[in-house]
């Protein structure tokens, strides 16, 4: 899917112009809270490329990764089970609705009391929050399965494992992956506020320190870093999604044409 040069320019001219304008306008800035863009970028380069990556970014990403994998594992497995057992799902859906409505932030005071400031706190809150979009999307994906495909699986007597891996999962994959993407960006938010409240390391913690010492360019650089991380992770996941679901994407494009 090669994009023409014109397309690329259309999509990129505005961000570039914004950056230039911001640079120029902020250069003269004497405001304490809004330092010149140049200084923010310099600080960014100084801190995050790459000296503090090991001490701050890696712990955050590590906790995020662990919590997310837990969320995905539980979410997908439970989602498949509940998707295949619609009655059970109906009965426990009020309970699920309640549990799902618990804001991730509100788990922080609880986990602080239970496990104190530690990596476990971060991982568990991420795992909880991120599992919901994954779980719900998996349930939807499995329930929305074309009955024609299940008929085929049954009449050809496909054994359970094979039915799961070759029929149910691929058919539900678009929904599942969409939920996983939502879960990932949710995880990015959760890791940040977990670290703002209860962590000894990580980007959030570092940000707190900068804020307390009124280090403005450093604070801004952290915001920029979070933006890049969020955008990068989301974009990376989208690329992964497109690769894995190439068959779905091509098929839909075909039917739009036809």
């Amino acid at each position: 899917m090669k994009r023409s040069l014109a397309n690329i320019i259309t999509e990129l001219w505005f961000p570039l112009v914004v950056l230039i304008v911001l640079w120029v306008l902020s250069e003269k800035s004497t405001s304490f809270y809004f330092p010149p863009l140049r200084i923010v970028l310099e600080t960014f380069r100084r801190l995050w490329l790459f000296s503090q990556v090991r001490s701050d970014v890696l712990p955050s990403l590590g906790s995020l990764g662990l919590g997310y994998c837990l969320a995905a594992g539980v979410g997908i497995v439970l989602g498949i089970i509940l998707g295949l057992l619609p009655r059970v799902h109906s009965v426990i859906s009020p309970i699920m609705e309640f549990l799902r409505a618990i804001p991730g932030v509100m788990l922080l005071p609880l986990m602080l009391l239970l496990v104190g400031i530690s990596a476990t706190l971060k991982i568990s809150v991420i795992a909880y929050a991120a599992s919901w979009p994954i779980l719900l999307n998996t349930i939807d994906g499995v329930r929305g399965l074309d009955p024609g495909l299940l008929d085929v699986a049954r009449s050809y007597r496909l054994p359970w494992m094979r039915r799961l891996i070759w029929v149910i999962l691929p058919a539900a994959a678009p929904q599942i992956l969409s939920g996983m993407r939502t879960g990932l960006s949710l995880g990015v938010t959760v890791i940040l506020f977990s670290e703002l409240v209860g962590s000894i390391n990580g980007i959030g913690r570092r940000m707190l320190e900068y804020q307390r010492s009124f280090a403005m360019p450093e604070t801004w650089s952290c915001i920029l870093l979070m933006g890049i991380l969020g955008y990068g992770l989301n974009g990376g996941f989208l690329a992964l999604e497109r690769r894995v679901l190439k068959w779905d994407y091509l098929r839909r494009r075909q039917s739009i044409r036809a």
């Binding site: 505005f14 961000p15 426990i92 932030v105 005071p109 609880l110 960006s185 938010t189 915001i223 933006g227």
Partner: protein, 260 residues
Amino acid sequence: MHAFKDNSWLVAMQCVAVLALLLLWQLASSTGLVSEASVASPRVVGRALMDLGVSWEFWNDLGATLRTWALGLTLSAAVGIPLGLVLGSSDFIYRSLRVTVEFIRATPPVALIPLLLLLYGATQRMAVMLIVIGSMWPILMQTMYGVHQVDPLIRDVAASYRLRRRDRVLRVQLPAVAPFVVTGLRIAATMSLLMAIGAELIAGVPGIGYMAGVAQADGDLGKVYAFIVITAMLSILINRGMRFAERRLLRWHPSHRSTQ
């Protein structure tokens, strides 16, 4: 996939499930299966809820949170909707802005809390700023998307009947965009609540989030659980309320019509 034969049967089963869960929970903590230090029994949580219910302070704080939420949401809509209408109307603008908006949207609003704390201190204003900066985007994007999606045929019809600009906007474009706008508002409503509570808990802005933090500092496990229950119920209420309003307002829209 058959649903239950009877709706009342389903509701009964759901109640049974909830009661069974509460019973299990109560048993687990009173028999010491799970330590009291980690899981407060339903009784303890219930008592904490009642204590809060009669506390004037609690209702004051709840009111503060709700006011922050409402103000933030309204401002987000006031900024997001008109901006979305304008920016979505041109395909060129839509495509130019896409990358920028996506980048901003991918940045967790939480990242701004330290900055806003420095700028405004732990005040309601800080929380409202956070909400606006965070919730504006879903509203903006949904509105833009809605304008983008409007059937060109409808635009042509409006043009061919030579409707005045004002009529065209009010009677044709606005209703066509309405469902998207409402979806954006619904998403933003939940986000705004979460950010209000987040600002209160993390930055110390007055409200129930702050109270929950205090309860944690006091080591009051029952109260912490109680606040979890309260915020969950609040979130459900707002979500259901918005869906209800959505259904009433958009009764005419095909997606809301009952199945054929």
